[in-house]
């Protein structure tokens, strides 16, 4: 191991940093709270051209939650997961997994892992794969005999238990892979692209397995680029861009200031606009352009959200002109576009005076909808360069090259 790794792994630094995490609490309490607690994880692939795959990851996964790691290709997602699973040696690592320093082999006995693009020995049957990897995870023979049929049943592969892996479809391999990761009844399960190559029925089944695990108090760490999948199951997410965590939190936390209400009244064009103008206090609305975050290319037009106050995204290529915009006295932004009034709040109480005013002016309210930006909106926002509006290329901005999901072995030996 390199000296950097030596410093990072198994040293008192890891624990000390964990203890010093923001949010207070003693060392023991913090370790108890988090299944994964990373203070600083960095990986540079050595070689002719140094590649900074991870540039200091700081991330926390609570015990008992389903956590999603998102990021574009080349963001370093798989590198991070592989570091946690000791497949890749970090250049620097301060952090803990299940209370132990990252890199400790014994801890892996309490962790289950489904690798991306995994290939199990094709001369084994599904049941033998489970038995073999169960034994490798130090599960005793009696427990293995009991768990193999149980888990094959759980992932819907019981009827295929005696068939060779080589006769399996991609989806079936994925199911067996998940069962394999559960052989040691792990406290923490890391699944790298678990729904890769799986049909919709299979995906639903996998989601059910995840719910089952969560109900049993297991922590699930999902690495996926299928945002809709993650959105359905994850309690918390982190978005990894160019080797750093760009955002992390619950979906609610991440979208709170981007939630809005959309109000529609019966009527057409300018007539409707007049109704809105009349209902809103004088001087609130102004003509002009307003830049909205989330309205970038490919992000889906209906999901646009406006900034609260000054936007860091001012000037994005996707900015568009809107007819009328403004802000309420309480600070919420407003805009009127194509007969729809949008109010930047998640608080239903804040729109009641507007609804009252509209009714008082005889307007017939057609719909009031609470809109929350999707994970895709958050994702696109995270991976878009605010200055150019273009999707960021894989790799560290201003760094010495591209980040990568895969290792660059030639330089790392």
């Amino acid at each position: 191991m390199s000296s950097a790794v030596g410093r990072g792994l198994g040293s008192p630094v890891a624990g000390a940093v964990v203890g010093a995490m923001p949010g207070g609490g003693g060392l023991a309490a913090k370790m108890g709270d988090y299944a994964i607690d990373l203070a600083h994880v960095a990986k540079t692939y050595a070689g002719r051209r140094k590649v900074k795959a991870l540039r200091g990851i700081e991330m926390r996964v609570h015990r008992g939650e389903v956590f999603g790691l998102l990021g574009p290709n080349g963001a370093g997602k798989s590198t991070l997961v592989k570091i946690l699973m000791t497949v890749i040696r970090p250049t620097e690592c301060r952090g803990a997994m299940l209370g132990d320093p990252v890199g400790r082999k014994e801890t892996l006995g309490r962790v289950g892992y489904l690798a991306e693009h995994h290939r199990f020995p094709d001369y084994l049957t599904g049941a033998q794969v489970l038995d073999y990897f169960g034994a490798m995870a130090k599960v005793g023979r009696v427990d293995r005999r009991r768990r193999v049929p149980e888990l094959l049943e759980l992932v819907g592969m019981k009827d295929w238990a005696g068939q060779k892996i080589k006769s399996y479809s991609k989806g079936m391999r994925q199911r067996v892979g998940i069962a394999q990761a559960l052989m040691n009844d792990p406290d923490l399960i890391l699944l790298d692209e678990p729904t890769d190559g799986v049909d919709p029925v299979g995906r639903r089944d996998i989601r059910n397995v995840l719910s089952h695990l969560k109900s049993r108090g297991k922590t699930v760490f999902l690495n996926s680029h299928l945002l809709s999948e993650l959105e359905m199951v994850c309690d918390r997410v982190a978005i990894l861009v160019q080797g750093v965590v760009s955002k992390q939190g619950t979906l609610d936390e991440l979208t709170r200031d981007r939630q809005r209400y959309e109000i529609e009244v019966v009527g057409e064009g300018e007539q409707v606009e007049g109704v809105y103008r009349a209902a809103l206090p004088t001087g609130v609305l102004r003509e002009g352009s307003l830049v909205l975050p989330g309205q970038v290319a490919g992000a889906g037009g209906a999901a646009g959200v406006a900034p609260s106050g000054g936007s860091a995204l001012a000037g994005t290529a996707a900015a568009r002109r809107v007819g009328l915009h403004g802000a309420l006295a309480t600070g919420e932004w407003l805009e009127i576009e194509r007969g729809t009034l949008r109010v930047g709040t998640s608080d239903a109480g804040r729109i009641q005076p507007i609804l009252d005013a509209l009714r008082a002016r005889g307007a017939i309210i057609k719909s009031v909808r609470s809109i929350r930006p999707s994970l895709e909106d958050l994702f696109m926002e995270a991976v878009t360069d605010p200055t150019t509006g273009e999707v960021l290329r894989p790799g560290a901005a201003g760094g010495a090259g591209g980040a990568a999901d895969g290792p660059r072995n030639e330089g790392s030996l």
């Binding site: 699973m85 497949v87 801890t107 995994h118 084994l124 038995d131 072995n409």
Partner: protein, 390 residues
């Protein structure tokens, strides 16, 4: 701890079991044993099944059946089948073990288990030796039974072939494993290993040839020295005779001068010159054989490891008895006026001495240094495996 080791061995067995080549090798092994059992010898000539091979001038009096089987086992069963053909088949079967293990998609799951990389590498290596162990064990036990039943000699020492061949194969497999780990390619690992093996064979061959020439030269020098001293004695007598004939008085302890000797027998000078040249040749040969010995010391000694087996199971006394019987047979044939076959006495002596040189190399030197090489290669492999990202 043992759960994982057992799992890796069971997996290695399942992998072998799934390979056609494993079973093909097993069947070929069976055929070899069947052929072995078909060969026999009686008081007239060697036999194959019911056919008498009368053109081969040996019989059970010269070579007793037990010795024949042991010689066949050592020279063909061990020397050709196990250490060449079966070894190549075993290398082909086991070369993919490490490239497959470190293949993208396969290695991640294994590394994510609570087992250290060093232990994983070494256990996987040991499990890879299972192929050869199973093959050699089956073949050797079958041969043991054939020698016992057909030859009437129950030789438990024969079973030593199992560890010896496994150790021999382990030198090559260590190289193949590390190459497979580094190149991640089965073909590259296999070809480079066979190339390495070929170089070892060349070193061994050069060693054997040079030592044999050295011993031959040395025997020639010795017999020439003998011939010179015989010729000198004869010449001295002749000179004394001449002197007496000429009426000269010959003092007690008279020694003729070199000039006198050369004048009387000019061949002696020629022989002396030849010996001086041969001596300088011998010195050069000794230098080269010494160099080869030191070059070979740190390298695995594949050939010599297998030859250790011959030392164990073929009793020198038995061989000598066979040799004596063969000599007696030859002399009998000569007495009947048939032409003398075989080598002259010098060649036989040189052969014996060459054999003695190789036998003088201790089992410790042969196996100890080879295993030392293997340990270094494996340590290097484990170190690379430990440091590698996948």
């Amino acid at each position: 701890m043992l759960i994982q080791t057992w799992a890796i061995f069971l997996d290695a067995y399942r992998e072998l079991n799934s390979k056609k080549l494993f079973w093909i090798t097993m069947v070929l092994s069976g055929l070899c044993v069947a052929l072995f059992a078909a060969v026999g010898i009686d008081e007239t000539s060697p036999t194959i099944l019911w056919l008498h091979l009368r053109f081969i001038p040996v019989n059970s009096e010269i070579i007793p059946p037990s010795l024949l089987y042991k010689l066949l086992f050592v020279n063909l069963g061990l020397g050709v089948w196990l250490t060449w053909i079966a070894t190549i088949l075993a290398l082909i079967s086991t070369a993919p073990v490490f490239p497959d293990m470190v293949a993208s998609g396969a290695i991640e799951t294994v590394l994510s288990k609570p087992i250290s990389r060093t232990r994983l590498f070494l256990t996987k290596y040991a499990a890879g030796l299972l192929f050869v162990t199973l093959q050699v064990a089956v073949f050797t036990v079958a041969c043991f039974l054939v020698i016992g039943i057909r030859g009437g000699a129950w030789e438990p020492g024969l079973l030593l072939a199992i560890p010896i061949v496994v150790i021999f194969f382990s030198y090559l497999f260590a190289v193949c494993a590390v190459l497979g780990l580094i190149t991640r390619s089965t073909i590259a690992a296999l070809l480079l290993t066979i190339l390495f093996w070929f170089f070892l064979y060349l070193f061994n061959l050069a060693d054997a040839v040079l030592v044999s020439i050295r011993e031959q030269t040395s025997v020639e020098i010795e017999s020439r020295v003998e011939a010179i001293s015989r010729a000198e004695a004869g010449t001295t007598e002749a000179i004394i005779g001449q002197m007496r004939e000429a009426g000269q008085e010959v003092p007690e302890g008279f020694v003729p001068t070199a000039e006198q000797v050369n004048l009387t027998n000019p061949f002696i000078a020629g022989m002396r010159t030849e010996n001086v040249e041969a001596q300088s040749g011998l010195e050069q040969l000794s230098w080269w054989t010494g160099l080869l010995y030191w070059v070979k010391t740190p390298l695995p000694k594949t050939g010599e490891t297998v030859q250790l087996m011959e030392r164990v199971i073929v009793d020198a006394a038995e061989l000598d008895a066979a040799q004596t019987a063969a000599d007696a047979d030859r002399e009998a044939q000569e007495a009947q006026g048939r032409p003398r076959r075989g080598q002259n006495r010098d060649q036989v002596e040189a052969g014996r001495r060459t054999e003695a040189v190789f036998k003088a190399r201790s089992a410790w030197w042969v196996m100890g240094t080879s295993l030392g090489f293997e340990a270094v290669v494996l340590a290097f492999g484990a170190w690379r495996f430990k440091r590698r990202d996948f």
